[in-house]
Amino acid sequence: MKSMKSRGGRSGGTDRGGIRKRGPTRTDRDGDMDMDGGGARAKRGRGDSGRLAAGGRVQSRDKTMDAIQKAISSSKDSSQVNIRQGKAGGGTWSDSPLVAFLERRMNAMTKSGPRAKITKSRVEGDSLVVFVRSDLADKMLRINGNLFAGIHVSVEPHTSAPSSTLDQDLASAAGTSASTADTKSKMTAILGKRYYPDTKLLDLSKLGTDPDLLAMGIFNTTSTESKFFPALMKVWEMGFTTSAQRREAVQSVSLAHNQLANISVVTTLAQTVPDIKNLDLSNNNFKDAQSLIGWRWKFRNLEFLDLTGNAFSADPSFKDTMLKWYPKLRILNNVEVRTAEEIAAQKKTPIPVQAPYFQDESKIGENFVRAFFAGYDNDRNDLINGVYDDRSTFSLNVNTMAPKAQQAEAAGWDSYIKKSRNLLKISHLPARMSRAYVGAEKIREVWNTLPQTRHPDLTTHPEEMLLECHPIPGLPDPSGQSETGVGGLLVMVHGKVEESVGAKIETRSFDRTFILGPGGGVGGIRVINDILCLRAYGGHEAWSPENQAIPQAVAPPPAPAAVQPGIPDGYGVPAPGKTDTQLQQEQLIAQMSSKSGMTLQFSEMALSGNGWNLDAAWKNFEELKAQGALPTTAFVSGA
């Protein structure tokens, strides 16, 4: 492999970003930079912020690993070149203009033959590593010293030499080779020493002086240094079987004392532990908001942030910026910046959120909804035979841009998009006609092409669906007898829907409106209209009534409320020998169990773990359930 490396004149400033070791080994790493033109080496470049995560773009972990792996494997058959470009001002630098520039320069030297092309490139530290065909290597080297954006670019062969095995191991931490397994087990051991399960703290401070990491030679080259943290995160993730467990395991992370000038090297933390509440970034080299910009939209649950010992803390806009970035932030640099009341007030909307409006005296709407979703999930043919007739209309539309709940992963829309009748996008009459399905047979046909679904159980998970219903007049009379039309029901449902696509479960949210009229179907009704809107999963917090700590059950289960399954006689009732505390606790447990559908045992765990505060226990329950962290045994079966 021919390998080249280059760098440009640096413009001075602080250390570049990255976890790095201190002391004498710094020159080892800088050994890579010997071809640098005069003087620049002593002054290190400003933090080249951005890099792969510039502008907060989400980048998947797996893609990172893949890209690194590809870069390494492709280096076997092409030449690798390292280019450094100093940049004044420390702004985000993107490699693509530089790649285009390099290609232009090479083509200018090429008189005939195929056009010179950079086959691959990646940013590594403050260098750009590019791959070219071996025959282009000489031309590439001749670009050394050329001016790009006012800066001399230096080009030099890239050597990833002495630690190339480690390099590859880091890249393939998930792999199986013996040395990879060794690297992985070393990392697992390091993580084990740095994780405190009692406090759910992952302490990644002072990595640069960690003797185990130094022994592994992590910081000896730019390449291993930049791959180390993503690989560490990958290894951490591999320690968990479900993402819920992973999210649950860590509440606090410290990256203190790591000489970080920006977050580029550690950006994957936000994907690995997105839900952390406490983040310690103290005693690094963050000098402005830009150095943290990649985490602008991450860590949405952050309550505590420590940036003491960073120049940014002295910035006049520091507090306002951090308050703006992190809506739940309460403690910044160990000072309270928001009260709990202020945080609660943020959720208020100008129109208070009330319990659902459900005007349905004869329970027609409620019974319909229960039967509908059970039927839609289990036997769509039967459902159509029951309540759809030759004038029923069904259509669906997909809101691909809808706001989503934090943590929600966006599922694709392939199964729906060709049937979506979003009138903003479908403007031609023939398409508008063909995407509305009139009559039971056409509806059956389209339903049979739609993915299998699972809607929440209204009895055990009432909060996951919002049902509203009221009468409306002026509906068509199928018998044609009434001049003034007939009355019926307008039913609106919002909620969660799961789909199994192959082996995968996709979770989405839906809004579905029905108009029901009198007719010849089951229960004397017919579906006149059925419009379905699908969107990314948006949770159910939005319809939790604001003036009640505990959301009301959307539609009360038809079972008599007095009888609560799983509650033994005498439970929650005063009895000789029962203390007041015990009685109160039993009553709270019964209440929790009734609202949550959980067993007494799990309800007790939820309450005792939250200081017997029902509101806190409920909140905790909702969180765990949303994460899918509750086992089915937590719930009263058949409730």
Partner: protein
């Protein structure tokens, strides 16, 4: 009523809902004095986040006097014909079907989008879902009037 073919039904209903969506949300945003004009004089049910509102005048009053600035963005909407011969009650009683034209239909509209309350662009985007039933305007006034008015409305924040 003259037999109306499916092309016409689709065209009239989708044009009606498009016109409605493209004028109603801008009015909520920047022409709140016009809000009342979108409603039937005696609507069936108007709901905002589970709160009932009596009529169009009351909706307008809430938006004019109580609501901060709001920025709406409709991201998806769809409609269906509910009753192609909606029994409009006029001054002279219910309109006989013999006098009905293609525009005498009622239309169900469902809208999905987001709203941002307050002036600042940093406020969160709240997802909403809104359902309307539009019915023919019963007013005999042939002047500058809307063809369809809101009979039922249900707004819900959903994200």
């Amino acid at each position: 009523m003259a037999a109306t073919n499916d092309d016409t039904l689709t065209k009239v209903s989708t044009d009606a809902s498009t016109e409605f969506v493209q004028s109603f949300y801008p009015a909520l945003q920047s022409n709140r004095d016009a809000i009342g004009s979108f409603y039937l004089p005696t609507p069936s049910t108007i709901l905002f986040n589970g709160n009932t509102v009596a009529d169009g005048a009351a909706v307008q009053d809430i938006f004019v006097n109580q609501m901060p600035p709001a920025h709406y963005e409709v991201q998806s909407f769809d409609c269906q014909v509910v009753n192609r011969a909606y029994p409009t009650t006029t001054a002279t009683g219910v309109k006989p079907s013999a006098q009905m034209g293609v525009k005498d239909m009622s239309v169900l509209v469902i809208v999905s989008g987001h709203v941002r309350y307050g002036e600042s662009r940093d406020q969160p985007q709240r997802g909403f879902s809104e359902t309307f039933v539009l019915v023919p305007n019963p007013s005999a006034d042939r002047g500058k009037r809307r063809d369809w008015l809101i009979q039922s409305q249900n707004f819900r924040l959903v994200v």
